[in-house]
Subunit: 320 residues, 2 copies
């Protein structure tokens, strides 16, 4: 366990991932209330909304209004998601968001064909245009993301060699455009990873790119989220995407155990108990998780929000 | 990861743990239906009922009738729980159960005081009488169990040294009565364990008793169940208690994320994907989990029952 980091950073994706999949429209006020509550937990990076077509994602229709309601907090990055130039320009126009460019590529042709009607080769070929757009607006590009990095529901398993190859192509394309990628997000978009799989992929990428900071984006579709994060910790990974209360992208939302991203407060709890700093106040985060359930109006899959923090329990025992 | 076992065994506790906490009475027929379905999954050890006071546990009132309905399966041990001599004698009288004696001790005086109104010292002092009862009925004693081995809601943290000390006392008392304990169950009764905690306690016990087989009983109260099991696998532990669909002992039953034991099919899924044999048919187990939800009448926290097996997905992709 010598590689275990002393501290990690968490990028909260609950508001964006959680609200976009809800069928009922959540009021702008309640979205803002949740985001501002998260802003007080110690989380330094909160993805708030997506600038996408509201005909496809009805809960994204009020993205500008939600961003307008965010109360800035020093040191906290409020961010957004976009999928094309128009969405990027809408995010930029708010003048309130932390803007960061990213290069995305999927490890699965079948997934990409289905979702964006293009091949991985075509996606790679489009990266220089993305870079040019970010450069034009002076938006820094620090990270890349490989989706379906552990497997794909429409194509099957993805080998570590495939991930290393895609990372290499991405880094080379960036370098060709004068961009040095400092960070790579390995996304288990469809819940194919296991702890050993995480170790294998992280190990393979790190062997080739030892200086690259790795981030894990772990969907909890098959209940492996926290275990996969632990495997990441054992590999020294110190950056994780997560979603408060386990909010997020799952067609079974509302069912017990259904799952988007790994649950933020469960991850923070594990780190707290293992002596790994997160900078996040667990109790405040648990209160946000309860608020999230109230806002969406149905149970969410987080565990610590129900089981409670041990730190608080210890304080009560000591006071007794 | 060199200690990772090639195969593990799982002791299913779903029927006993899951039904006993339900407020509504579940019909005898449906209990039997679920147990007999589990009997066809490849699980070799299924804890079916508890012989306890039905005034305290209404769903245990039909224990004898449930056992009478079990269809024997060669190689499958159907077992039961009891808490005193009377319960043991009721189990024995069914003449249908696999009978195995066990020595139990709690790592927490506060927990024991609250539940059984006695101290740990008194509990240890009572072990010879338990051994005598089992001997009288020719019931073998192979294992011991330490409850609250990772912490206690009423007392706080439990150190690995405390667990080793209790194991030592238990083993010595057994030896004094001519019983050699071959197995020790480390029970995280109240969900205090983390993966690092599992590694520390397992490591400390194994260092003193290298020949003792260890079992982990991991409640998922704070979402650490699967991660804790993975830590156990990394330490070479090859015996786990688990509950189909995540059935079990939790006052929040019916809520998403509420949790008893670690979910059997989630554990089997992780092992399948990491090349560790369990002897269990995951698809059959997923069907049992769906049946369990139908029997209790509310969602249960298992994930793979919703996310689905990857083995099946791969077969579909290959056939397409």
């Amino acid at each position: 366990m010598s590689d275990m980091p002393k501290s990690i950073r968490i990028r909260e994706e609950g508001p964006r991932e959680g609200f976009q999949i809800e069928k009922n429209f959540i009021s702008t006020e309640r979205k803002i209330e949740f985001i501002n509550a998260l802003g007080k937990t110690g989380l330094h990076h909160i993805q708030t909304v997506s600038f996408v077509d509201p005909r496809r994602v009805p809960n994204s229709a009020d993205a500008e209004a939600v961003v307008a309601g965010i109360i800035p907090v020093p040191g906290v990055h409020f961010t957004a998601l976009w999928l094309n130039d128009k969405g990027f320009e809408r995010a930029l126009a708010t003048k309130k968001l932390h803007m960061e460019g990213g290069l995305n590529v999927s490890a699965s042709d079948a997934f990409l064909k289905r979702n964006q009607n293009r091949t991985v080769a075509e996606q790679l070929a489009s990266l220089p245009a993305s870079i040019a757009l970010y450069k034009k607006h002076n938006v820094p590009i620090e990270g890349g993301l490989i989706s379906a990095a552990f497997g794909c529901n429409f194509q099957g398993d993805v080998t570590p060699a495939r991930v290393v190859d895609l990372a290499t192509q991405m880094i080379d394309i960036g370098a060709g455009e004068g961009v040095t990628l400092k960070r790579l997000n390995l996304a288990d978009t469809m819940g194919w990873a296991t702890p050993m799989g995480v170790k294998r992929v992280v190990g393979a990428v790190r062997e080739k790119f030892p200086a690259l900071e790795l981030c894990l984006h772990l969907h909890d579709t098959r209940g492996m989220g926290v275990a996969n994060a632990f495997a990441g910790l054992e590999m020294g990974v110190s950056l994780y995407d997560a979603a408060c209360a386990g909010l997020g992208g799952c067609p079974f939302a509302g069912h017990a155990g259904a799952a988007g991203n790994v649950c933020t407060e469960d991850l923070v709890f594990m780190c707290d108990e293992m002596g790994i700093e997160t900078g996040v106040n667990l109790q405040a985060l648990i209160e946000c998780a309860a608020l999230a359930e109230d806002v969406v109006g149905h149970p969410l899959p987080g565990s610590v929000m129900r089981g409670g923090s041990l730190k608080r329990l210890r304080e009560k025992l000591q006071a007794a």
